[in-house]
Amino acid sequence: MSASTGEQDMTPLMQVKALTKMYGHRIGCKNVSFDLYPGEVMGIVGESGSGKSTLLNAMAGHHAPDCGEVVFDTRADGPVDTCTMSEPARRMLGRTDWAFVHQHARDGLRMSVSAGGNIGERLMAVGGRHYGEIRDQAADWLGRVEISDSRIDDRPSDFSGGMQQRLQIARNLVTGPRLVFMDEPTGGLDVSVQARLLDLLRSLVREMGLSAIIVTHDLAVVRLLADRLMVMKDGYVVESGLTDQVLDDPQHAYTQLLVSSVLQV
């Protein structure tokens, strides 16, 4: 779908400029700026309440930011500020070029609709009207996320937590998005399931040339997936840089604390 040529690689896929979201007088996130290039995975880490989910939701258009711009390089019109674009256009973006993976799979899935229906929903939302083709694609995507296609007519409520999360990922990636927002994609899963999910995510991101913004408090996740890292504290970005650089040589006191707090087995 999005053949990333060398020329396109020069323009950032997404430019976040001085994004600020306030909750009354309290800071959600303040003055966040960064560029995300095609194929790049950005990790956002920080403790609970540091504003990382707020930032993610503001970028994905779920919350209206108080000021700042989120410029996305759309396929049709080039770079557009998504905060000021019309709601229909933003929602259209939300089900074509963007994907959002929630921490809790049940927030992102329709629990009363079969796995095939869940995957097919995005296809039907963008005009897919051929049952056979929708079903074939759904089966194909179930395979890609390592769910047996004999489960295509089962409801997500019959799935394990890890399968639900993988189903959510399949449902989001089926329309070939270019940018995936992930909010703690491995939260609440046990470590072996986490490892498989991370493996899967990594191969999907590489295969499809996806860009992703991953919010997590788990440093192992960003070490594995992210090219670049932003560390947030109290709504501010306190440090950013290449993942390995930030994790191996943390400069800010909070990052040092964060890195040293990781439990070693």
Binding site: E121, R122, G128, Y131, R135
Partner: protein, 285 residues
């Protein structure tokens, strides 16, 4: 009869309902909110349809009320009596002679003409309701034309039953814009929604009115490889031998014998009067 204002409702209320009807006609398929009044009958008995009928009636009208196609069921009889008492209008059971027809769950078999109004009783006007419980969200989906979810329901039907098993309240798209619930009519009636008469839909409990002007384009949703099909029981009527009308199945005894009869009683009667006789019918007296 003089104890009531004409057709029960006060004039201001009828005015308010007429405004909603006009807006509904101007935006076909759009659900117009209105201040539904308490009616002297329980919700679910057609309070929405009754209010629309009351706002539509004029003294010269001739009213027909049907429930599942029949003129003589409880719901139809009580609503017909209600307007006989409160409006004093003429009533009829003949589809062609009625100027206003209030219906529940059926469209009459006889073709309606431009000088007729068909009023539907609607239980749940929102076609997306069972898929998306939030009203704020469904309104947004209507305004932004996000109707992919409606096909998810049809997808689920096919994946579970092998074909589109939705047999009534089959969703339609009006003039390529609004997806509309045609009220719980059988999908056999869906093709008839494109008609010469004005069609008004009233939902009393949900406080919504919507409408189809004459000759509005109404398309039943489907998949390319599973096209819409108007289905009925594959028998002729046992009383009038009609092959083209929607049938009710009637269980006759404990031994499994059954008969199929037209659900539209007026249609069946008029055919029998013309001399058509079905398997279990008798010659017209």
């Amino acid at each position: 009869m003089s104890d009531y204002n004409f057709a029960y409702l006060d004039e201001q209320t009828k005015r308010m309902i007429r405004r909603a009807i006009l807006k509904g006609l101007a935006v076909p398929g759009y659900q117009v909110p209105f201040a539904s009044r308490e009616m002297p009958m329980p919700y679910g008995w057609g309070t929405g349809g009754v209010q629309v009928t009351a706002a539509t009636l004029v003294p010269e009208d001739s009213l027909k009320v049907i429930d599942q196609g029949a003129d003589d069921t409880t719901n139809a009889v009580s609503i017909r009596k209600f307007f006989e008492r409160t409006a004093g209008v003429a009533t009829t059971e003949e589809t062609t002679k009625a100027s206003v027809i209030q219906t529940r769950h059926r469209i009459p078999e006889a073709e309606l003409s431009e000088d007729q109004i068909l009023v539907y009783q609607v239980p749940i006007p929102e076609p997306l309701r069972f898929l998306e419980p939030r009203e704020t969200e469904t309104r947004k989906m209507h305004s932004l034309e996000e109707y992919g979810l409606m096909h998810v329901k049809l997808y689920e039907d096919i994946s579970q039953h092998g074909d589109i098993a939705t047999a009534y309240a089959y969703p339609v798209k009006v003039e390529e814009r609004y997806v509309m619930d045609p009220s719980p009519i059988p999908k056999f009636d869906n093709p008839k929604l494109e008609m010469a008469a004005i069609q008004l839909f009233g939902a009393g409990r949900e406080q919504r009115i919507y409408a189809l002007p004459p000759y509005t384009r109404v398309v039943s949703l489907d998949f390319e490889d599973y096209p819409f099909e108007a289905t009925k029981a594959d028998y002729p009527c046992d009383l009038c031998a009609a092959e083209d009308s929607y049938l009710d199945e009637v269980i006759l005894d404990d031994a499994g014998s059954r008969m199929f009869v037209c659900s539209d009683t007026d249609y069946c009667r008029s055919r029998r009067a013309e001399g058509h006789v079905g398997r279990l019918g008798e010659e017209a007296a």
